[in-house]
């Protein structure tokens, strides 16, 4: 057994195995793809509550008197608008405007930002941010100090409330607070990757297994289910949330990905700005569009897309949408082919199958 080839494991690996999860290699991490079944797990999150181990995600901390300057330069969104305890979706870009990664920026203190980044990109992100650090900030690769659990679904607040004295109803969407959950210090963020209400909890790895068990007990009366990466993917696709390596990568800019709202021009310079200005001036050539299958067949990642009978783009993510009873997908297309209502064809095993461009997100929760 060669250590270099070994998959990385989260602190909950033993818990997943004991639950009979099917484990897969996800970007070098051995992760649960499903426990009871993707459809059942998906529905639990939409109707009640589900618990995900997302400890493979990375954490990077930026500290120092000029921490804001580094975050503002490295990421596209405007972190000066954040108040302490607030989070925002943002992006790290290459100089040419493509994505290094999409990230969450949390403002912990005036001189301290906590970044949540994608598992497979975390070392690259860390080196990238360090390379831009002209302000003598402390940039820490903090992933080993955190496990992350995502509690998602309409009953997530009721579940979590049983384990903490923190006033959860006071934490608004994309805000967070540091408190105790089941006696363990935790960063409690009202964020998620499912399109439902929910929380992401950052805790020390040694407490992760106990917290998992306590959350499962607390959610039992609501029908909580452990959920794997399979359901995480169907849930995020319905909500049209980007997945690195699919909708976004080094060759795609935020404008193409429909993420222009995380690029804030008025904040000043940022890495990749000149390339984005150029693209803005020249006009977009392609854009991310959502579609529903009309013919029989399921679009899958990488399938070709025809517009007017001609090869025009590719499917970035596709599959069944369990909440909608439809087969859906996202694809890159020339602007003119991407208008809502346009007919396209997805090539499924050499057969063009009809699909239609639809508005996104495919699924939007009804806010109570």
């Amino acid at each position: 057994m060669e250590e270099a080839d070994a998959l990385k494991r989260t602190p909950l690996n033993g818990v997943h195995r004991a639950l009979g999860a099917r484990m897969v290699d996800f970007g070098g991490w051995e992760m649960p793809v499903q426990y009871s079944g993707i459809l059942e797990e998906h529905r639990a999150v939409r109707s009640a509550v589900g618990l995900f181990d997302v400890s493979h995600m990375g954490e990077i901390e930026v500290r120092g008197p000029e921490a804001l300057k580094l975050v503002q330069y490295a990421a596209t969104n405007d972190a000066s608008r954040l108040r302490v305890g607030q989070a925002q979706y943002s992006a790290l870009l290459y100089e040419h405007g493509g994505f290094v990664d999409d990230i969450l920026v949390h403002k912990v203190a005036e001189d301290h930002f906590f970044l949540c980044v994608n598992a497979a990109n975390q070392e690259k992100d860390f080196e990238h941010i360090r390379s831009l650090n002209r302000w003598d900030c402390e940039v820490e690769f903090a992933s080993p100090r955190y496990a992350q659990l995502a509690l998602q679904g309409p009953r997530s607040q009721a579940t979590l409330a049983r384990l903490t004295r923190v006033d959860l109803s006071g934490i608004r969407y994309y805000w967070f607070t540091d408190g105790e959950v089941a006696g363990t210090p935790a960063r409690i963020a009202r964020t998620g990757y499912t399109g439902e209400d929910g929380f992401e909890l950052y805790v020390a790895p040694e407490h992760a297994a106990r917290l998992w068990r306590e959350l499962m007990e607390a959610g039992a009366e609501f029908g909580i289910k452990p959920c794997g990466l399979g359901a995480r993917n169907t849930l995020r696709l319905e909500a049209k949330m980007a997945l690195y390596g699919h909708e976004i990568d080094a060759t795609i800019t935020p404008f193409e990905a429909g993420l222009g709202w995380i690029v804030k021009w008025e904040k000043g310079d940022f890495h990749g700005r000149a390339a984005l200005e150029k693209q803005k001036a020249q006009g977009l050539r392609r854009t991310l569009a959502g579609f529903e299958m009309r013919g029989r067949g399921i679009a899958r990642d990488g399938y070709e897309v025809l517009a007017g009978g001609v090869l025009a783009g590719w499917v970035t993510s596709g599959g069944p949408a369990p909440s909608l009873n439809k087969n859906i997908g996202l694809c890159y297309l020339p602007l003119e082919a991407a208008a809502t209502g346009r007919t396209i064809h997805v090539v499924v095993r050499n057969q063009p199958v009809e699909a239609v461009i639809v508005p996104t997100p495919f699924y939007k929760r009804v806010k109570s």
Partner: protein, 125 residues
Amino acid sequence: MYPENFRYTKEHEWISLDGEIGTVGITDHAQKELGDIVYVDLPKVGSAVEKLKVLGSVESVKAVSEIFSPVSGEVVEVNTALAEAPEKLNQDPHGEAWLVKIKVRDPEEIKDLLSAVEYQQYIGA
């Protein structure tokens, strides 16, 4: 779990032969490996199929998986109920959720397929 009168492929299909008509399906092991099955693509009645060549496909939420024909012959019946209810493949893969019936060209072809005991050894059951 794995009927003694079926023969099995290493690609996880089964065939049950009655005279010259073979009923074909996927195994319980296959449906478990696939997870929730959401789509089934089967050949038309009258199609010619070849042993261990692609017969159709099944798709789970996550992935596409090809189905291979255990024998050569001609498709004489297709389980059309599966188009509307592919989840039956998760519930009763050895019974109600058979896929196709094939008029077998050469019944000798099933002899080198696995017995129930051999198949269970093969999947480590």
